[in-house]
């Protein structure tokens, strides 16, 4: 469907200035032009506005159009960094050369990206957005991605020289680079406690505590491979942490969920019993819910697995309990080498109240990274290490006791050596006795 013509074209996402500041003539971009059509805000209008402003983006559009035509990419990597750091920059050099090895699109022959850590939760004032944008205009293409899939602000497109100047300027007013390469990466946390009733954790604190404890490991890549933290305030996991981070911290609660029976009745009255039975009761993964004849709700908290579904649907009537904490899962990542992995529960529940609690969290993260850094092969993610050496060896390495919550079911394979069964059984009994 087509974009209806705007009332105020000068203040519209489709606006492209007629006045041209850039000195280099535009390239023909018939294919990209196709993407100016349609109702969704077009990045092509954006590129054209920048091309009107600077030559780098004129040539960038030339190379991009060429990619569209030939269905191939033309960037290669390299090494660029700012003084004192080893990572945080994704350097790009054009591969499109003419017969005498000169760049076909010289103005954008260098087109590096700076990965800058956003504030936890991606909160900004308009003032700060404008300030960042202005700095980038001075030193770069002007193009900023809010945000990359790992959470960084990506300042896309500048030269090696200007990289340093830009970093110096924004670092002065409080911004630091994120991760790139084999290092601790920029973390992500959900809006959580700031604006979400489901939050069982202080995402802001956890996020910054974890990642700012490893600034050195982030800025000077020396780990076997990337390591990502993600923090979600509840099992809805809006940060995709289980599948997309090496170290996932997810809020949950240990006591009974809160049920406001008045609101339950109101909900039933509004939606009808059938809806409640089909959409809430019937969709509980463990049949832990039943709707009483008086339109109140009974919850079998012992079998509730904190999946969040009923709290999501009956948002006003049901809430997490008071005894809040986090579950930690380790080892999630994408496909490379062994296929996708999800994080595995390593800490079923960790209370996060006192400063000591938070220190324990920090220690846990440090232990994991230390053990992994020492034992992983090159380019091996933590989840791959666990898969290779086995969960049990990993647990021993980070000094965490086995717990049945770490598994969905005990072994089905009889291929195991149980010489020391009695000792291991003793350990369990002692731990139980200790409580």
């Amino acid at each position: 469907m087509a974009q209806q013509t705007p009332k105020n074209p000068e203040k519209h996402c489709t606006y492209v200035p007629t006045e041209k500041k850039s000195t280099k003539p535009y390239h023909n971009t018939p294919m990209l032009d196709e993407l100016e059509k349609g109702p969704w805000p077009s990045f092509v209008h954006g590129l054209k506005r920048l091309a009107a402003d600077n030559n780098m983006m004129v040539d960038l559009m030339g190379q991009l159009e060429h990619s569209y035509k030939t269905r191939l990419g033309y960037w290669k990597g390299g090494t660029v960094s700012v003084f004192g750091y080893g990572g945080g920059i994704i350097p790009r050099f054009t591969e499109l050369m003419d017969s005498n090895k000169k760049p076909i699109f010289p103005e954008s022959k260098e087109f590096h990206t700076l990965r800058v850590q956003p504030p936890a939760g991606n909160h900004y004032t308009t003032g700060m957005l404008r300030q960042l944008s202005n700095s980038w205009n001075k030193y770069g293409s002007g193009l900023i991605a809010f945000h990359g899939q790992t959470g960084n602000i990506m300042f896309i497109g500048t030269t090696t020289e200007k990289t340093q100047h830009f970093f110096d300027e924004i670092n002065e007013y409080g911004w630091d680079l994120g991760g790139a390469g084999p290092c601790v990466r920029t973390a992500m946390s959900c809006v959580g406690a700031a604006r979400c009733e489901q939050s069982c954790a202080n995402e802001q604190k956890i996020h910054r505590l974890l990642v700012n404890n490893f600034v050195d490991d982030m800025h000077r890549p020396a780990l076997p491979y990337k390591f990502k933290f993600k923090v979600s305030g509840c099992p809805n996991d809006c940060m995709n942490s289980i599948q997309r981070s090496d170290f996932a911290v997810i809020g949950t609660w240990r006591d009974d969920m809160k049920v406001d029976q008045k609101e339950v009745k109101a909900f039933v009255a509004k939606k009808g019993r059938k809806y409640v039975v089909d959409s809430v009761i019937g969709k509980c993964p463990t049949n832990a819910l039943s709707l009483n004849d008086d339109d109140t709700l009974s919850v079998d908290n012992r079998n509730c697995v904190r999946c969040m579904h009923c709290l999501n649907v009956m948002n006003k009537a049901l809430s997490p309990g008071d005894d809040k904490g986090v579950t930690i899962l380790i080892g999630g990542k994408r496909t490379l080498k062994i296929g996708d992995t999800m994080g595995t529960v390593i800490v079923p529940f960790m209370k996060l109240e006192t400063e000591e609690d938070y220190e324990k969290l920090q220690e846990m993260a440090a232990n994991v990274i230390d053990f992994w850094a020492e034992n992983a092969l090159e380019h091996e993610r933590c989840g791959e290490t666990i898969d290779r050496i086995g969960l049990v060896n990993f647990l021993e390495g980070i000094e965490v006791d086995v717990d049945p919550n770490m598994i969905t079911n005990p072994r089905v394979s009889s291929y195991v050596r149980t010489d020391t069964w009695d000792e291991e059984a003793e350990k369990w009994k002692e731990r139980k006795a200790a409580g």
Binding site: K11, C13, A145, I156, T186, V211
Partner: protein, 360 residues
């Protein structure tokens, strides 16, 4: 000056900035106090605090890559019609909160007048999470911004309305590495030919042992090719994943014709109802067809149409297919079922039907 410039500046390793500096005052005041929320209309969230405070949040779709023009355009609106605070979601949508309900309608209108869609909340199709593609990455088989733009044009109505059984999270990725991650529907590159090796370059550019180590099926061997140390690929073994390309660009995996798109369905991160799930292959061999990738868009729309018709309230795409069964999924979507759908990777045995549970 130049002297100074010569003096390198030591970085302040300040790390991740404190979010409270830039947070909406109502967020700070009610931090951890929120009681519940509802959605007065698509694209608007209404959160109520135990303190009695309320915030209305308008969610606005963006193209993710923003320049000074649109940053100022959007900030002007936020300053004029809201409180000067904004946050971005994990899907590059903006969220602008106001504490006065009366401000919502004008704010929404201002964004819409400027061409920015308000939506993406609840059971809508929200913004597609995308990646870098030809714009910047060194290994892409296709573009990202263009694919997303084309698809969002097609799905615009689903973004500004809430008509799906549950929220739909679509991801795209411009190579098989898949930075976009798992999705209810994921559109990823799928290469179909082994890398063409530029043997002249290997020796200089690639650390051969680590390239060999990168191959998931051990298809790469060091070899001497016309006198130079290079690498060779056992094409019988190679599954064309492209993993050898990032560490060794001379192993050209990308091909204008043979780098196709594949469509995956049923990925799910949340723990709601079912445990998290990986997405599953439903269609491959889809042409990588810029500038608008119509073939991929068709399949995505077909899947969404069937999901919309057949799924129950609150069923994510993956939940829905689990309930009706995959044979029914292929029947309803009329997508062909092939031998490629049968997994053969480690642990694949778990994906075989070892029961008589069959729907006839």
């Amino acid at each position: 000056m130049s002297e100074q410039a010569a003096q390198p500046r030591f970085p302040t390793e300040s790390g991740c900035p404190d979010g409270f500096q830039y947070m909406h005052p109502a967020y700070i005041k009610n931090y951890g106090q929120w009681a519940y929320h509802d959605r007065p209309r698509p694209g608007v969230l209404h959160h109520v605090s135990k303190t009695g405070d309320e915030v209305w949040t308008v969610r606005v779709g963006t193209q993710r890559q923003l320049g000074p023009y649109e940053i100022n355009l959007l900030c002007d609106i936020i300053d004029k019609y809201a409180d000067g605070y904004v946050r971005f979601t994990i899907r590059s949508n903006m969220e602008i909160s106001v504490t006065d309900e009366k401000k919502v309608a004008p704010l929404v209108k201002a964004f819409e007048d400027a061409g920015y869609p308000v939506g993406g909340t609840g059971n809508s199709v929200t913004m597609i999470s995308h990646t870098q593609g030809w714009l910047h990455c060194d290994i892409p088989g296709t573009d990202a911004s263009g694919v997303v733009k084309s698809l969002m044009d097609e799905l615009y109505d689903e973004f500004v309305n809430e008509q799906m059984p549950n929220r739909v999270h679509i991801t795209t990725s411009c190579c098989q590495i898949n930075c976009g991650g798992q999705g209810d529907i994921a559109i990823n590159v799928q290469h179909t030919k082994p890398p063409k090796i530029n043997h002249d370059l290997v020796a200089n550019v690639c650390e051969r042992p680590s390239v060999v180590a990168r191959c998931p099926v051990a298809a790469i061997r060091p070899a001497m090719v016309n006198g130079k140390p290079s690498l060779e690929v056992d094409e019988k073994k190679c599954i064309c994943c492209g993993a050898c390309f990032p560490p060794c660009p001379p192993m050209q995996i990308n091909d204008p014709d043979h780098s196709k798109l594949a469509i995956w369905v049923g990925g799910k991160h949340s723990n709601a109802r079912s445990k998290p799930m990986f997405h599953k292959l439903v269609a491959a061999g889809v042409p990588n067809n810029p500038p608008r990738w119509p073939e991929a868009a068709e399949i995505v729309k077909k899947i969404l149409r069937v999901y919309k018709e057949d799924a129950q309230n609150w069923e994510r795409v993956g939940d829905w297919v689990e309930r009706i069964g995959w044979p029914r999924f292929f029947e309803l979507t009329e997508l062909p079922f092939t031998k490629f759908h049968i997994d053969n990777w480690t642990g694949a045995r778990n994906s075989l039907n070892a029961s008589t549970h069959i729907r006839f």
